[in-house]
Each structure stands twice: as C-alpha cells, then as structure tokens.
C-alpha cells in the first residue's frame, strides 16, 4: 500500500531529476559525437570510457597523473601552513592588520596568470614551479579567512582566559586556535579551489613535461578520445579533492550554535 507513494516521492525528489539531467547530457553527448560531429573533434562518452585503459597505458601518463596529485597535495599543505601563520601574524594585532591587510588584498587582486612565465623561469619546468604557483593561489583565501576569523573572536573569551591566569601561549593554544578551526576549514575549502587552479594552470602551460605534454600531444594528434579521457581523470581528481575538504569542513562545525 505504501509502495506507490514511496516511488512517487523518489521520482519527485530533486536528486532524481538531477541524475536524469546528467544522464540526458551524456546521452546528447553520445548521440552528437557518434552521428553528427567529425570524430576528429569529438568522441562519445562510451568510447572515452572504453579507452581509459589505453590512456593509462600510454607511457608517462600514470606518472604525470601521480606527480600532479603529489603537487596538489604539497601545494595544499604548504598553503594551509603558510596561510595560517601569515593570517595569525597579520590578524592577531590590530596594527599589523591595518598595515598589512591592504597589501595582502592588493596581491590577492593581481591576475597571477600574468606572472606564470616568471614562475617557470625561476622554478623550472618540474614540480617545483607547479607547487609554487599553486601555493601562490592557495594562500590568499586562507589568509583572508583566518584574519576574519581572529577578528570575530569575542573579546570576553580572551578576557576570561586572562583572568584565570592564561599566558600568551596558553591563550593562543586553548582559546584562539580552537576558535579558528571552523574558519580555517572554510578557508581550506577556498584554498583548495585556488590550489587546483594554480597547479593545473601551470601543468597545462608547460607543454614539454607533465600533463601539459600529453594534452598538447593528444590535441596535436587530433585524438579527442584520449584527451577527454585525460581531462576526465583530472576533473575527477579535482572533484574528489574538493569533496574531501568539504566533508571535513562540515564535520568540524559541530559545536557551532544551530
């Protein structure tokens, strides 16, 4: 008796329609690629998925993917550490905040893509430049978030800690730091977006090694199948990393007022 009602509810749920939309998009892609577009320019999803194995067997591709993943992790970790330290240094005192925040915001606003060639010039075409460029994108949202987080710490909490005898280090460790954690995770989510952009931008730019080499290769050989396969794998990597950070952020906000 409850069956038809339940089925109707499942169909009515937006998630169901979303899956439907995604399936429809893939269907359009499949049909267009198979019968309407020159196979030199577009490849249907069925063929792309089937050829994933071939892509991975291309010498150098698994290594490039691994290196990219490592670069992303390293850039992210560095961004968090540097962003947190700089954010605290700038945000804890009103003088340093007044002085340095405008400089931070100024740097944040520069279109960093213009200095990408400089990064390659200084750090070479290996992972170092990719990590550096990733960090350069990742630290700014973290710094900004950390500074904002320190600012919205209720002064009464520090006053109370002082009245109970807490020294500077204790205030930092037991009051400021725990207060910062949810804010830090929000900053980390934004930072991850920045790191992804920076690292992948640098990877695509360098056409003589890494991912950039293969995207250039597949493009010049008019091999959309392999190209889509590679892009698909990178996009999946990006989605997974974003999700991991997002989930951790949600877990750590549990003590906030509902």
């Amino acid at each position: 008796m409850a069956r038809p009602g339940r089925i109707r509810r499942i169909i009515a749920a937006p998630g169901f329609a979303r899956v439907g939309v995604i399936v429809a998009m893939f269907a359009v892609w499949e049909i267009a690629a198979r019968w309407f577009v020159d196979p030199l320019f577009l490849s249907p999803p069925s063929r792309v998925i089937a050829s994933l194995g071939t892509v991975l067997r291309t010498p150098g591709v698994p290594a490039a993917l691994q290196v990219t993943l490592l670069e992303l992790s390293a850039a992210f970790a560095l961004s968090v550490v540097i962003g947190l330290v700089v954010g605290l240094a700038v945000g804890l005192q009103s003088f340093s905040r007044r002085t340095f925040m405008p400089i931070v915001l100024l740097l944040y606003g520069i279109p960093q893509i213009t200095i990408l060639p400089l990064f390659i010039l200084y750090f070479g075409i290996g992972p170092a430049s990719k990590i550096a460029f990733g960090v350069s994108h990742g630290i700014f949202p973290i710094i900004v978030t950390v500074v904002a987080g320190v600012q919205n710490l209720k002064p009464i909490l520090l006053l109370s800690a002082r009245s109970m005898g807490a020294g500077r280090w204790q205030q930092l460790r037991w009051v400021i730091f725990p207060h910062m954690i949810p804010t830090l995770f929000t900053g980390m989510r934004l930072g991850m977006t920045g790191v992804l952009l920076g690292v992948l931008l640098a990877e695509l730019y360098v056409s003589t090694a890494g991912i950039g080499y293969f995207t250039t290769l597949f493009t010049q050989n008019f091999d959309p199948t392999k190209l889509l396969g590679l892009i698909g794998m990178l996009a999946t990597m990006a989605i997974v990393l974003n999700q991991v950070v997002r989930r951790t952020e949600e877990k750590f906000s549990k003590w906030q007022t509902p």
Partner: protein
C-alpha cells in the same frame, strides 16, 4: 587617549606600508645593480621602465590589446545572454532551482580551465577557442547569481502583484527585475572578472595573439625586461577594467 592613539596608529600604518613598497623597490634595484643577479632573471628596473615607455609610445601593444579585448567582449556577451536567460528560466520554479542549482555549482567547482585543450582541438589556436573557454567559465557565476537574484524575490510580493492584476510582463519588469538587479549585477561583475582571467590564461597556454600570448612569447625569447613591462601593462589594464566594472556594479545597485 584612545582617539589620539588610533590616529597615531593610522599614520604608523601608512609609514610601514610605504616602507614596505620602498624597501621592495630598493631591493630590486640593489639586486640587479650591486648583487649581480642575472639580467635574464631579474632585469634592472630602469630598463623595464624604458621598455614600458617604448611599448606605450610606439603603440606596439595595440594589436594584442585589441585581440584580448575583442575576445573578452565576445565571451562576456555570450555568457551574459546565456546566463541571464537560462537563469531566469530556471528561477521560475522552485523544483527547477533545486535540480539545476547544485548541478551548476558542482560543475563550477571544477577548474574549468581543464577544458581548454578540448576547445583548442575543436576551434584551433585562434580567438574562437579563447572566446569559447571565456564564455564557458564566465557563464557560471552569471547563471548562478541570476537564479539567486530572481529566486529570492519574496513570494508575498509576487502574490500581491498577481492579486492586483499584474500581467507576466509587468510582473517581470516592475517587480522581479528591480528586486533581482543587485544580485544579477554582482554576478555580471564576477563573470567579467573570471572571463578576463580565463582569456589571458588561455592566451598564455595556447594562442597566436593577444596579451597573454605576448607575455609568454617574450619569456620564451628571454626578453625578460620587455616581459616585465608587459606584465605591468596587463596588470594595469586588468585593474582598470575591474575597477570600471565594479563601479558600474555599484552604480547599478543604487535604487
């Protein structure tokens, strides 16, 4: 006591900022003149300025600037038309919003620059691939903000207008549009900013013309001083464009 201290702090802040800037310039000067840093890595500030003056005076930048601006304009126009129309259409139904909004946010979360090689394969190295990528990336903040803008118009306003006999067009023009305008304008500003970044970025990676390409070309030719000059030029253009767009947004948001 507190007011005077605040005033002192303000001046001290400015001094430190100026010192920072000055210190940076002095370091640059010293590094290139006294400490023997390789000219190909860090050119002398004087030479960079010379190059910049030369670029501006000779009008050499015009060709690349025009290419970049045209690509930017085309990409932004396409994204705006598609984004606002689609955004409005989706905003008409709560169900549609709940289906499409998470999908669109989800896609936007991926670094869409990844699709550049695809567009290059499809459209070649010419402006078309840049316009396509710029439009793609720019589309998302516009559509998402349009959905948000129209979606948050209070139901009560809509109901009251219907009760007073407003036609669909009147409802749109006199209720929905003014209410949604501030959010949509913000979306347009964001769309413009990311379009500019996307265009310059894709010119740097795979192009034959445009400001992004020019910078890369100079770096490959080891003409570092001229590259520095162009970087300064492009940053200045970006700052000006963004300031203009922000100003327009602020103007448009005033009731």
């Amino acid at each position: 006591m507190k007011n005077r201290r605040a005033w002192h702090q303000g001046i001290a802040s400015r001094l430190v900022q100026a010192a920072f800037l000055l210190g940076g310039l002095i370091l640059w000067f010293l590094a290139t003149t006294r400490w023997g840093v390789n000219q190909l890595l860090l050119p002398k500030p004087g030479i960079v300025l010379q190059n910049l003056a030369d670029i501006l005076a000779s009008g050499e930048f015009v060709g690349d600037l025009l290419v970049t601006l045209t690509e930017l304009a085309a990409a932004f126009v396409i994204a705006t038309i598609a984004g606002t129309i689609l955004g409005y259409a989706i905003s008409r139904s709560r169900y549609a919003i709940s289906v499409f909004e998470p999908l669109l946010s989800g896609i936007y979360a991926i670094p869409l620059i990844l699709f550049l090689p695809l567009y290059v394969l499809f459209f070649g190295l010419g402006p078309a691939s840049k316009i396509a990528l710029g439009a793609t990336i720019s589309f998302f903040p516009i559509v998402l903000n349009t959905i948000a803008g129209f979606g948050q118009v209070e139901r009560s306003l809509v109901k009251a207008s219907h009760a007073m006999g407003a036609s669909d067009y009147q409802l749109f023009r006199y209720v929905l549009l003014p209410a949604a305008r501030p959010v949509i304008l913000t979306g347009l500003r964001m769309g413009f900013t990311v379009a500019l970044l996307a265009i310059i970025g894709s010119e740097a990676i795979a192009s034959l013309a445009g400001l992004g390409h020019r910078i890369v070309h100079l770096s490959e030719g080891m003409e570092t001083a001229r590259m520095f000059a162009y970087i300064a030029f492009v940053v200045a253009i970006a700052v000006i464009l963004n300031a203009v767009v922000s100003g327009l947004e602020a103007r448009g948001r005033r009731p």
